[in-house]
Protein backbone atom coordinates (compact mmCIF):
# COMPACT_ATOMS: atom_id res chain seq x y z
CA UNK A 1 0.00 0.00 0.00
CA UNK A 2 1.28 3.43 -0.85
CA UNK A 3 1.99 5.58 2.12
CA UNK A 4 0.63 9.09 2.17
CA UNK A 5 3.44 11.55 2.66
CA UNK A 6 2.91 15.17 3.51
CA UNK A 7 4.01 17.60 0.79
CA UNK A 8 7.52 19.00 0.77
CA UNK A 9 6.54 22.40 2.18
CA UNK A 10 4.97 20.80 5.23
CA UNK A 11 8.00 18.67 5.88
CA UNK A 12 10.26 21.68 5.65
CA UNK A 13 8.01 23.53 8.07
CA UNK A 14 8.14 20.72 10.54
CA UNK A 15 11.90 20.47 10.17
CA UNK A 16 12.26 24.18 10.89
CA UNK A 17 10.02 23.91 13.94
CA UNK A 18 12.22 21.15 15.30
CA UNK A 19 15.29 23.21 14.59
CA UNK A 20 13.95 26.14 16.61
CA UNK A 21 12.90 23.83 19.44
CA UNK A 22 16.34 22.28 19.47
CA UNK A 23 18.11 25.66 19.38
CA UNK A 24 16.17 26.83 22.44
CA UNK A 25 16.92 23.56 24.23
CA UNK A 26 20.63 24.05 23.53
CA UNK A 27 20.45 27.66 24.74
CA UNK A 28 19.27 26.29 28.08
CA UNK A 29 21.49 23.23 28.25
CA UNK A 30 24.86 24.62 27.16
CA UNK A 31 25.39 26.93 30.15
CA UNK A 32 24.52 24.05 32.48
CA UNK A 33 27.03 21.89 30.66
CA UNK A 34 29.67 24.60 30.95
CA UNK A 35 29.31 25.03 34.70
CA UNK A 36 29.46 21.24 35.15
CA UNK A 37 32.57 21.22 32.99
CA UNK A 38 34.14 23.97 35.07
CA UNK A 39 33.22 22.34 38.36
CA UNK A 40 34.82 19.06 37.36
CA UNK A 41 38.01 20.47 35.91
CA UNK A 42 41.26 20.24 37.83
CA UNK A 43 42.04 23.46 39.65
CA UNK A 44 44.84 24.73 37.45
CA UNK A 45 42.56 24.25 34.42
CA UNK A 46 39.97 26.50 36.03
CA UNK A 47 42.48 29.35 35.88
CA UNK A 48 43.84 28.51 32.46
CA UNK A 49 42.93 30.04 29.14
CA UNK A 50 41.76 29.06 26.59
CA UNK A 51 39.76 26.34 28.31
CA UNK A 52 38.91 23.00 26.71
CA UNK A 53 35.28 22.88 25.63
CA UNK A 54 35.08 19.12 25.88
CA UNK A 55 35.43 17.09 29.09
CA UNK A 56 38.98 15.99 28.35
CA UNK A 57 40.33 16.01 31.88
CA UNK A 58 37.80 15.33 34.55
CA UNK A 59 38.69 15.73 38.19
CA UNK A 60 36.84 16.03 41.47
CA UNK A 61 39.64 18.20 42.87
CA UNK A 62 37.71 21.46 42.47
CA UNK A 63 34.54 20.04 43.99
CA UNK A 64 36.52 18.60 46.89
CA UNK A 65 38.22 21.93 47.44
CA UNK A 66 34.81 23.59 47.64
CA UNK A 67 33.22 21.04 49.95
CA UNK A 68 36.17 20.99 52.35
CA UNK A 69 36.43 24.77 52.53
CA UNK A 70 35.78 26.16 55.96
CA UNK A 71 32.09 26.43 56.83
CA UNK A 72 30.73 25.02 53.58
CA UNK A 73 29.39 21.78 55.01
CA UNK A 74 27.87 23.62 57.95
CA UNK A 75 26.12 26.00 55.59
CA UNK A 76 24.86 23.11 53.48
CA UNK A 77 23.43 21.62 56.64
CA UNK A 78 21.82 24.95 57.50
CA UNK A 79 20.32 25.17 54.02
CA UNK A 80 18.81 21.71 54.32
CA UNK A 81 17.44 22.38 57.79
CA UNK A 82 15.90 25.68 56.71
CA UNK A 83 14.38 24.11 53.61
CA UNK A 84 12.94 21.18 55.56
CA UNK A 85 11.43 23.41 58.26
CA UNK A 86 10.00 25.67 55.55
CA UNK A 87 8.52 22.73 53.70
CA UNK A 88 6.78 21.31 56.76
CA UNK A 89 5.61 24.66 58.09
CA UNK A 90 4.16 25.79 54.80
CA UNK A 91 2.39 22.49 54.17
CA UNK A 92 1.08 22.37 57.71
CA UNK A 93 -0.27 25.90 57.52
CA UNK A 94 -1.04 26.10 53.82
CA UNK A 95 -2.64 22.74 53.00
CA UNK A 96 -5.71 23.26 55.24
CA UNK A 97 -6.33 26.60 53.53
CA UNK A 98 -5.87 24.93 50.15
CA UNK A 99 -8.42 22.33 51.17
CA UNK A 100 -10.88 25.00 52.31
CA UNK A 101 -10.53 26.86 49.00
CA UNK A 102 -11.01 23.65 47.06
CA UNK A 103 -13.98 22.20 48.89
CA UNK A 104 -16.07 24.84 50.60
CA UNK A 105 -18.25 27.60 49.28
CA UNK A 106 -18.23 30.32 51.90
CA UNK A 107 -18.38 34.04 52.38
CA UNK A 108 -14.91 35.51 51.96
CA UNK A 109 -13.73 32.78 49.60
CA UNK A 110 -12.96 35.28 46.91
CA UNK A 111 -11.35 37.75 49.31
CA UNK A 112 -9.01 35.13 50.69
CA UNK A 113 -8.08 33.99 47.22
CA UNK A 114 -7.26 37.56 46.32
CA UNK A 115 -5.11 37.95 49.42
CA UNK A 116 -3.18 34.82 48.50
CA UNK A 117 -2.75 35.85 44.88
CA UNK A 118 -1.57 39.31 45.79
CA UNK A 119 0.96 38.11 48.34
CA UNK A 120 2.28 35.53 45.96
CA UNK A 121 4.62 37.57 43.83
CA UNK A 122 5.44 39.95 46.61
CA UNK A 123 8.92 41.37 47.01
CA UNK A 124 10.55 39.31 49.75
CA UNK A 125 13.17 42.03 49.94
CA UNK A 126 10.63 44.13 51.76
CA UNK A 127 10.01 41.49 54.37
CA UNK A 128 13.60 40.68 55.15
CA UNK A 129 14.80 44.00 56.47
CA UNK A 130 12.00 44.73 58.97
CA UNK A 131 11.95 41.05 59.92
CA UNK A 132 15.64 41.24 60.71
CA UNK A 133 14.91 44.06 63.15
CA UNK A 134 12.04 42.11 64.68
CA UNK A 135 14.07 38.93 64.99
CA UNK A 136 16.80 40.82 66.78
CA UNK A 137 14.18 41.87 69.34
CA UNK A 138 12.86 38.33 69.59
CA UNK A 139 16.33 36.87 69.99
CA UNK A 140 15.83 34.84 66.83
CA UNK A 141 18.32 36.75 64.70
CA UNK A 142 21.03 34.66 63.05
CA UNK A 143 19.15 31.38 63.52
CA UNK A 144 18.01 28.91 60.91
CA UNK A 145 14.51 29.22 62.34
CA UNK A 146 14.33 32.92 61.49
CA UNK A 147 15.25 32.20 57.88
CA UNK A 148 12.74 29.36 57.74
CA UNK A 149 9.98 31.62 59.08
CA UNK A 150 10.55 34.19 56.33
CA UNK A 151 10.90 31.49 53.69
CA UNK A 152 7.57 30.07 54.86
CA UNK A 153 5.94 33.46 54.42
CA UNK A 154 7.41 33.52 50.92
CA UNK A 155 6.31 29.97 50.06
CA UNK A 156 2.92 29.97 51.75
CA UNK A 157 0.82 31.60 49.01
CA UNK A 158 2.18 29.19 46.43
CA UNK A 159 1.59 26.26 48.77
CA UNK A 160 -2.02 27.29 49.31
CA UNK A 161 -2.67 27.64 45.59
CA UNK A 162 -0.91 24.42 44.68
CA UNK A 163 -2.51 22.30 47.39
CA UNK A 164 -5.87 23.75 46.51
CA UNK A 165 -5.40 22.67 42.89
CA UNK A 166 -4.29 19.24 44.14
CA UNK A 167 -7.46 18.89 46.20
CA UNK A 168 -9.64 20.16 43.38
CA UNK A 169 -8.16 17.37 41.29
CA UNK A 170 -9.53 14.76 43.68
CA UNK A 171 -13.20 14.17 42.96
CA UNK A 172 -15.46 15.37 45.72
CA UNK A 173 -17.59 12.26 45.28
CA UNK A 174 -14.81 10.08 46.69
CA UNK A 175 -14.96 11.98 49.94
CA UNK A 176 -18.73 11.91 49.92
CA UNK A 177 -18.72 8.18 49.25
CA UNK A 178 -16.49 7.71 52.28
CA UNK A 179 -18.89 9.80 54.32
CA UNK A 180 -21.90 7.73 53.29
CA UNK A 181 -19.89 4.65 54.26
CA UNK A 182 -19.39 5.75 57.84
CA UNK A 183 -16.57 8.32 57.87
CA UNK A 184 -16.77 11.75 59.38
CA UNK A 185 -15.16 14.52 57.39
CA UNK A 186 -11.74 14.17 59.02
CA UNK A 187 -11.72 10.40 58.56
CA UNK A 188 -12.73 10.83 54.93
CA UNK A 189 -9.85 13.25 54.41
CA UNK A 190 -7.34 10.99 56.14
CA UNK A 191 -8.44 7.72 54.56
CA UNK A 192 -9.36 8.82 51.07
CA UNK A 193 -8.20 12.32 50.18
CA UNK A 194 -4.74 12.29 51.71
CA UNK A 195 -3.51 9.05 50.11
CA UNK A 196 -4.68 10.35 46.74
CA UNK A 197 -3.25 13.83 47.30
CA UNK A 198 0.13 12.52 48.39
CA UNK A 199 1.93 12.76 45.05
CA UNK A 200 0.65 16.28 44.50
CA UNK A 201 1.50 17.34 48.04
CA UNK A 202 4.95 15.83 47.66
CA UNK A 203 5.45 17.86 44.51
CA UNK A 204 4.37 20.99 46.36
CA UNK A 205 6.78 20.13 49.16
CA UNK A 206 9.66 19.59 46.77
CA UNK A 207 8.88 22.86 45.07
CA UNK A 208 8.94 24.61 48.43
CA UNK A 209 12.25 22.95 49.23
CA UNK A 210 13.77 24.26 46.01
CA UNK A 211 12.35 27.72 46.65
CA UNK A 212 14.00 27.83 50.05
CA UNK A 213 17.23 26.18 48.94
CA UNK A 214 17.65 28.82 46.24
CA UNK A 215 16.73 31.90 48.25
CA UNK A 216 19.61 34.31 48.76
CA UNK A 217 18.49 37.73 49.92
CA UNK A 218 16.52 36.99 53.08
CA UNK A 219 19.04 34.36 54.13
CA UNK A 220 21.90 36.81 53.73
CA UNK A 221 20.09 39.55 55.66
CA UNK A 222 18.89 37.36 58.50
CA UNK A 223 22.09 35.52 59.38
CA UNK A 224 25.66 36.28 60.35
CA UNK A 225 27.26 33.06 61.55
CA UNK A 226 24.59 30.52 60.67
CA UNK A 227 24.57 31.18 56.96
CA UNK A 228 22.75 29.01 54.47
CA UNK A 229 24.84 28.01 51.48
CA UNK A 230 23.58 30.67 49.06
CA UNK A 231 23.92 33.32 51.77
CA UNK A 232 27.44 32.26 52.54
CA UNK A 233 28.37 32.24 48.89
CA UNK A 234 26.89 35.61 48.06
CA UNK A 235 28.54 37.26 51.05
CA UNK A 236 31.95 35.87 50.16
CA UNK A 237 31.48 36.08 46.43
CA UNK A 238 34.07 38.71 45.69
CA UNK A 239 36.71 37.30 47.98
CA UNK A 240 36.33 33.67 47.00
CA UNK A 241 38.63 32.07 44.45
CA UNK A 242 37.20 31.21 41.07
CA UNK A 243 37.20 27.39 41.52
CA UNK A 244 35.22 27.88 44.72
CA UNK A 245 32.57 29.88 42.85
CA UNK A 246 32.28 27.43 39.96
CA UNK A 247 32.04 24.39 42.22
CA UNK A 248 29.60 26.22 44.49
CA UNK A 249 27.42 27.27 41.57
CA UNK A 250 27.27 23.72 40.34
CA UNK A 251 26.61 22.37 43.82
CA UNK A 252 23.67 24.78 44.24
CA UNK A 253 22.32 23.64 40.91
CA UNK A 254 22.31 19.89 41.38
CA UNK A 255 19.50 19.35 43.91
CA UNK A 256 17.30 21.77 42.01
CA UNK A 257 17.79 19.87 38.77
CA UNK A 258 17.05 16.56 40.46
CA UNK A 259 13.96 17.92 42.14
CA UNK A 260 12.57 19.50 39.04
CA UNK A 261 12.97 16.13 37.38
CA UNK A 262 11.06 14.45 40.18
CA UNK A 263 8.13 16.81 39.88
CA UNK A 264 8.16 17.35 36.11
CA UNK A 265 4.58 16.06 35.84
CA UNK A 266 3.33 18.75 38.18
CA UNK A 267 5.26 21.73 36.81
CA UNK A 268 2.27 23.29 35.16
CA UNK A 269 0.04 22.80 38.15
CA UNK A 270 2.59 24.59 40.29
CA UNK A 271 2.36 27.75 38.29
CA UNK A 272 -1.05 27.15 36.79
CA UNK A 273 -2.80 30.46 36.57
CA UNK A 274 -6.33 29.28 36.60
CA UNK A 275 -8.10 28.62 39.79
CA UNK A 276 -11.69 27.69 40.27
Amino acid sequence: MEQTRPPMSQRINRGLTYLVALAIALWILIPIYLIALAAFSPRQLVYSWPKPLLPTSISIETMRFFLTSYGVLASVRNSVVVAVITLFLSLLIGAPAGYALARYVFRGHHAFQLLILSTRAFPIVILSIPMAVTFINWGLYDTVLSVALVHTAMALPTTVLVTSSVFIGIPKELEEAAMTLGCNRLQAVLRVVLPLALPGLAAAAIFTFVLSWNEVFAAAILTLQNRTLPAKMVVQLNESPIPFRFAGGFFLLVPSLLFIFAIRKYLFNLWGVKLK
Binding site: L53, A97, I129, A132, L156, R185, F268, V273
Partner: protein, 283 residues
Protein backbone atom coordinates in the same frame (compact mmCIF):
# COMPACT_ATOMS: atom_id res chain seq x y z
CA UNK B 1 -35.61 27.20 60.59
CA UNK B 2 -32.08 28.39 59.95
CA UNK B 3 -29.29 26.19 58.79
CA UNK B 4 -26.35 25.94 61.07
CA UNK B 5 -23.33 28.15 60.47
CA UNK B 6 -20.54 26.50 58.56
CA UNK B 7 -17.41 27.22 60.51
CA UNK B 8 -14.99 24.63 59.09
CA UNK B 9 -13.58 26.72 56.21
CA UNK B 10 -12.76 29.59 58.54
CA UNK B 11 -10.94 27.33 60.96
CA UNK B 12 -8.96 25.93 58.06
CA UNK B 13 -8.04 29.38 56.78
CA UNK B 14 -7.15 30.75 60.17
CA UNK B 15 -3.53 29.52 60.42
CA UNK B 16 -2.45 30.86 57.04
CA UNK B 17 -4.28 34.14 57.55
CA UNK B 18 -2.64 34.68 60.91
CA UNK B 19 0.74 33.69 59.52
CA UNK B 20 0.45 36.07 56.59
CA UNK B 21 -0.62 38.88 58.89
CA UNK B 22 2.31 38.25 61.19
CA UNK B 23 5.04 37.62 58.65
CA UNK B 24 3.73 39.50 55.65
CA UNK B 25 1.41 42.37 56.38
CA UNK B 26 3.08 43.43 59.62
CA UNK B 27 6.67 43.57 58.28
CA UNK B 28 5.37 45.45 55.27
CA UNK B 29 4.02 48.19 57.50
CA UNK B 30 7.15 48.00 59.56
CA UNK B 31 9.29 48.62 56.47
CA UNK B 32 7.58 51.98 56.06
CA UNK B 33 7.94 52.75 59.73
CA UNK B 34 11.65 51.98 59.59
CA UNK B 35 12.05 54.13 56.51
CA UNK B 36 10.30 57.16 57.98
CA UNK B 37 11.01 56.97 61.69
CA UNK B 38 14.30 57.04 63.58
CA UNK B 39 15.36 55.16 66.71
CA UNK B 40 13.82 57.81 68.94
CA UNK B 41 10.45 57.44 67.30
CA UNK B 42 10.63 60.75 65.44
CA UNK B 43 9.04 60.82 61.98
CA UNK B 44 11.65 62.01 59.50
CA UNK B 45 12.56 62.12 55.82
CA UNK B 46 16.23 61.84 56.72
CA UNK B 47 16.60 58.23 55.52
CA UNK B 48 14.84 58.90 52.24
CA UNK B 49 17.18 61.85 51.70
CA UNK B 50 20.22 59.74 52.50
CA UNK B 51 19.02 57.13 50.06
CA UNK B 52 18.41 59.60 47.25
CA UNK B 53 21.63 61.52 47.86
CA UNK B 54 23.79 58.41 47.92
CA UNK B 55 26.16 58.17 44.96
CA UNK B 56 24.85 54.73 44.05
CA UNK B 57 21.14 55.55 44.19
CA UNK B 58 20.60 56.87 40.68
CA UNK B 59 22.96 54.28 39.27
CA UNK B 60 20.90 51.58 40.94
CA UNK B 61 17.62 53.06 39.72
CA UNK B 62 18.99 53.41 36.20
CA UNK B 63 20.37 49.89 36.02
CA UNK B 64 17.21 48.37 37.48
CA UNK B 65 15.08 50.09 34.86
CA UNK B 66 17.45 49.32 32.00
CA UNK B 67 17.36 45.67 33.02
CA UNK B 68 13.55 45.65 33.18
CA UNK B 69 12.99 47.26 29.81
CA UNK B 70 15.48 45.02 28.05
CA UNK B 71 14.87 41.72 29.83
CA UNK B 72 11.09 41.61 29.83
CA UNK B 73 10.42 42.04 26.08
CA UNK B 74 13.13 39.50 25.27
CA UNK B 75 11.68 37.10 27.77
CA UNK B 76 8.18 37.41 26.40
CA UNK B 77 9.27 36.76 22.85
CA UNK B 78 11.32 33.76 23.87
CA UNK B 79 8.67 32.46 26.27
CA UNK B 80 5.99 32.78 23.63
CA UNK B 81 8.11 30.82 21.18
CA UNK B 82 8.75 28.16 23.82
CA UNK B 83 5.09 27.99 24.82
CA UNK B 84 3.95 27.64 21.20
CA UNK B 85 6.52 24.91 20.63
CA UNK B 86 5.40 23.08 23.74
CA UNK B 87 1.77 23.48 22.76
CA UNK B 88 2.45 22.22 19.24
CA UNK B 89 2.90 18.76 20.75
CA UNK B 90 5.91 17.81 18.67
CA UNK B 91 7.17 14.30 18.94
CA UNK B 92 9.45 14.19 21.97
CA UNK B 93 7.82 17.34 23.33
CA UNK B 94 7.89 15.89 26.85
CA UNK B 95 11.65 16.17 26.77
CA UNK B 96 11.48 19.71 25.43
CA UNK B 97 9.05 20.69 28.17
CA UNK B 98 11.40 19.31 30.78
CA UNK B 99 14.42 21.08 29.34
CA UNK B 100 12.54 24.36 28.95
CA UNK B 101 11.37 24.14 32.54
CA UNK B 102 14.82 23.37 33.97
CA UNK B 103 15.69 26.99 34.78
CA UNK B 104 12.61 27.18 37.03
CA UNK B 105 14.63 25.40 39.66
CA UNK B 106 17.85 27.34 39.20
CA UNK B 107 18.61 29.97 41.77
CA UNK B 108 19.56 33.46 40.68
CA UNK B 109 22.91 33.00 42.41
CA UNK B 110 23.72 29.80 40.49
CA UNK B 111 22.59 31.43 37.25
CA UNK B 112 24.80 34.42 37.99
CA UNK B 113 27.80 32.20 38.62
CA UNK B 114 27.16 30.24 35.43
CA UNK B 115 27.11 33.39 33.31
CA UNK B 116 30.10 34.71 35.16
CA UNK B 117 31.91 31.54 34.05
CA UNK B 118 30.95 32.40 30.50
CA UNK B 119 31.76 36.11 30.50
CA UNK B 120 34.76 36.25 32.82
CA UNK B 121 38.15 37.11 31.34
CA UNK B 122 39.34 33.53 31.16
CA UNK B 123 35.81 32.27 30.56
CA UNK B 124 34.08 30.22 27.93
CA UNK B 125 32.99 33.08 25.69
CA UNK B 126 36.57 34.21 25.25
CA UNK B 127 37.57 30.60 24.65
CA UNK B 128 34.99 30.19 21.91
CA UNK B 129 35.89 33.51 20.30
CA UNK B 130 39.53 32.49 20.40
CA UNK B 131 38.94 29.07 18.84
CA UNK B 132 36.85 30.74 16.13
CA UNK B 133 39.82 32.95 15.43
CA UNK B 134 38.04 36.17 16.31
CA UNK B 135 40.27 37.02 19.25
CA UNK B 136 43.79 36.11 20.14
CA UNK B 137 43.78 37.73 23.57
CA UNK B 138 40.95 37.43 26.09
CA UNK B 139 38.66 40.46 26.05
CA UNK B 140 37.62 41.87 29.44
CA UNK B 141 33.84 41.81 29.12
CA UNK B 142 32.94 42.55 32.73
CA UNK B 143 34.46 46.01 32.67
CA UNK B 144 32.19 48.62 34.19
CA UNK B 145 33.13 51.16 31.55
CA UNK B 146 31.45 49.10 28.84
CA UNK B 147 27.87 47.93 28.35
CA UNK B 148 28.98 44.31 28.57
CA UNK B 149 28.15 43.74 32.26
CA UNK B 150 24.55 44.79 31.50
CA UNK B 151 24.47 42.49 28.50
CA UNK B 152 25.76 39.61 30.62
CA UNK B 153 23.14 40.22 33.33
CA UNK B 154 20.39 40.51 30.72
CA UNK B 155 21.43 37.20 29.16
CA UNK B 156 21.64 35.52 32.56
CA UNK B 157 18.19 36.74 33.52
CA UNK B 158 16.64 35.83 30.18
CA UNK B 159 18.26 32.44 30.50
CA UNK B 160 17.07 31.86 34.05
CA UNK B 161 13.66 33.46 34.36
CA UNK B 162 12.00 32.91 30.99
CA UNK B 163 10.69 29.53 32.08
CA UNK B 164 8.27 31.04 34.57
CA UNK B 165 6.76 33.17 31.84
CA UNK B 166 6.61 30.15 29.56
CA UNK B 167 4.78 28.05 32.16
CA UNK B 168 2.17 30.74 32.69
CA UNK B 169 1.72 31.13 28.94
CA UNK B 170 1.47 27.38 28.37
CA UNK B 171 -1.16 27.12 31.06
CA UNK B 172 -3.02 29.92 29.31
CA UNK B 173 -2.63 28.32 25.88
CA UNK B 174 -3.95 25.03 27.13
CA UNK B 175 -7.02 26.73 28.49
CA UNK B 176 -7.90 27.97 25.01
CA UNK B 177 -10.08 25.42 23.25
CA UNK B 178 -8.42 24.20 20.08
CA UNK B 179 -11.65 24.76 18.16
CA UNK B 180 -10.97 28.49 17.92
CA UNK B 181 -7.72 27.92 16.13
CA UNK B 182 -9.26 25.20 13.99
CA UNK B 183 -12.19 27.41 13.09
CA UNK B 184 -9.79 30.15 12.00
CA UNK B 185 -7.90 27.56 10.00
CA UNK B 186 -11.06 26.42 8.23
CA UNK B 187 -11.78 30.01 7.29
CA UNK B 188 -8.39 30.23 5.69
CA UNK B 189 -6.30 32.16 8.22
CA UNK B 190 -2.58 31.56 7.99
CA UNK B 191 -0.31 30.71 10.92
CA UNK B 192 0.66 34.27 11.71
CA UNK B 193 -2.87 35.63 11.38
CA UNK B 194 -4.14 32.95 13.74
CA UNK B 195 -1.45 33.77 16.25
CA UNK B 196 -2.06 37.50 16.02
CA UNK B 197 -5.85 37.53 15.69
CA UNK B 198 -6.90 34.48 17.69
CA UNK B 199 -4.30 33.10 20.05
CA UNK B 200 -2.70 36.24 21.44
CA UNK B 201 -5.96 38.08 22.20
CA UNK B 202 -7.28 35.01 24.01
CA UNK B 203 -3.99 34.74 25.85
CA UNK B 204 -4.21 38.26 27.24
CA UNK B 205 -5.17 37.31 30.81
CA UNK B 206 -2.14 35.00 31.04
CA UNK B 207 0.13 37.60 29.53
CA UNK B 208 -1.07 40.05 32.15
CA UNK B 209 -0.37 37.63 34.99
CA UNK B 210 3.08 36.81 33.62
CA UNK B 211 3.94 40.48 33.11
CA UNK B 212 3.02 41.39 36.67
CA UNK B 213 4.89 38.41 38.07
CA UNK B 214 7.99 39.08 36.04
CA UNK B 215 8.18 42.82 36.61
CA UNK B 216 7.80 42.49 40.35
CA UNK B 217 10.51 39.84 40.38
CA UNK B 218 12.69 42.06 38.24
CA UNK B 219 12.59 44.85 40.83
CA UNK B 220 14.14 42.40 43.25
CA UNK B 221 16.96 41.26 40.99
CA UNK B 222 19.99 40.88 43.22
CA UNK B 223 22.20 37.81 43.26
CA UNK B 224 22.54 37.55 39.48
CA UNK B 225 23.89 41.07 39.32
CA UNK B 226 26.29 40.48 42.19
CA UNK B 227 27.55 37.19 40.79
CA UNK B 228 27.95 38.29 37.18
CA UNK B 229 29.08 41.86 37.48
CA UNK B 230 30.39 42.15 41.03
CA UNK B 231 31.04 45.84 41.77
CA UNK B 232 30.60 46.87 38.15
CA UNK B 233 26.84 47.20 38.49
CA UNK B 234 24.40 47.92 41.24
CA UNK B 235 20.62 47.61 41.50
CA UNK B 236 18.00 48.61 44.07
CA UNK B 237 17.93 45.31 45.95
CA UNK B 238 21.73 45.20 46.06
CA UNK B 239 21.76 48.70 47.61
CA UNK B 240 19.21 47.59 50.21
CA UNK B 241 21.45 44.67 51.01
CA UNK B 242 24.57 46.84 51.19
CA UNK B 243 22.96 49.36 53.51
CA UNK B 244 21.81 46.62 55.83
CA UNK B 245 24.72 44.15 55.56
CA UNK B 246 27.68 46.49 55.21
CA UNK B 247 26.64 49.79 56.75
CA UNK B 248 24.28 48.25 59.34
CA UNK B 249 21.68 50.87 58.66
CA UNK B 250 18.24 49.23 58.64
CA UNK B 251 16.54 52.60 58.06
CA UNK B 252 18.05 53.39 54.70
CA UNK B 253 17.79 49.71 53.77
CA UNK B 254 14.09 49.87 54.64
CA UNK B 255 13.78 53.01 52.53
CA UNK B 256 15.02 51.01 49.56
CA UNK B 257 12.62 48.20 50.46
CA UNK B 258 9.73 50.64 50.61
CA UNK B 259 10.76 52.08 47.26
CA UNK B 260 10.75 48.61 45.72
CA UNK B 261 7.31 47.98 47.17
CA UNK B 262 5.91 51.22 45.80
CA UNK B 263 7.40 50.52 42.36
CA UNK B 264 5.99 46.99 42.39
CA UNK B 265 2.53 48.17 43.32
CA UNK B 266 2.76 50.95 40.76
CA UNK B 267 3.60 48.62 37.90
CA UNK B 268 0.91 46.15 38.94
CA UNK B 269 -1.70 48.88 38.80
CA UNK B 270 -0.21 50.09 35.52
CA UNK B 271 -0.49 46.65 33.92
CA UNK B 272 -3.97 46.07 35.25
CA UNK B 273 -5.04 49.40 33.77
CA UNK B 274 -3.34 49.25 30.39
CA UNK B 275 -3.90 45.57 29.72
CA UNK B 276 -7.44 45.59 30.93
CA UNK B 277 -9.06 42.25 30.24
CA UNK B 278 -12.75 42.59 29.76
CA UNK B 279 -14.86 39.77 31.18
CA UNK B 280 -16.03 38.62 27.77
CA UNK B 281 -12.54 37.76 26.59
CA UNK B 282 -11.81 35.45 29.47
CA UNK B 283 -11.57 31.86 28.37
Amino acid sequence: MRRRFQWEPYILLLPSTVYLMLFFAWPMLQAFELAFRDENGVWTLEFIQRMVNDVNFWKAVRTTFILIVTIIPLQFLLALAMALLVNAKLRGSDLFVYIYALPLAISDLAAGIIWFAIFTERGYLNTVLYSLGILDQPYIFLNYQTAWPVVAVVLAEVWRATSIVMVVLVAGLQAIPREYDEAAQVFGAGWFTRLWRVTLPLLRPSIQVALILRTILAFQVFAVVLAVAGQALTVLAAEAYRWYGSWRNPHVAAAYAALILVLSLGTTVFYLRTLQVSEEVRV
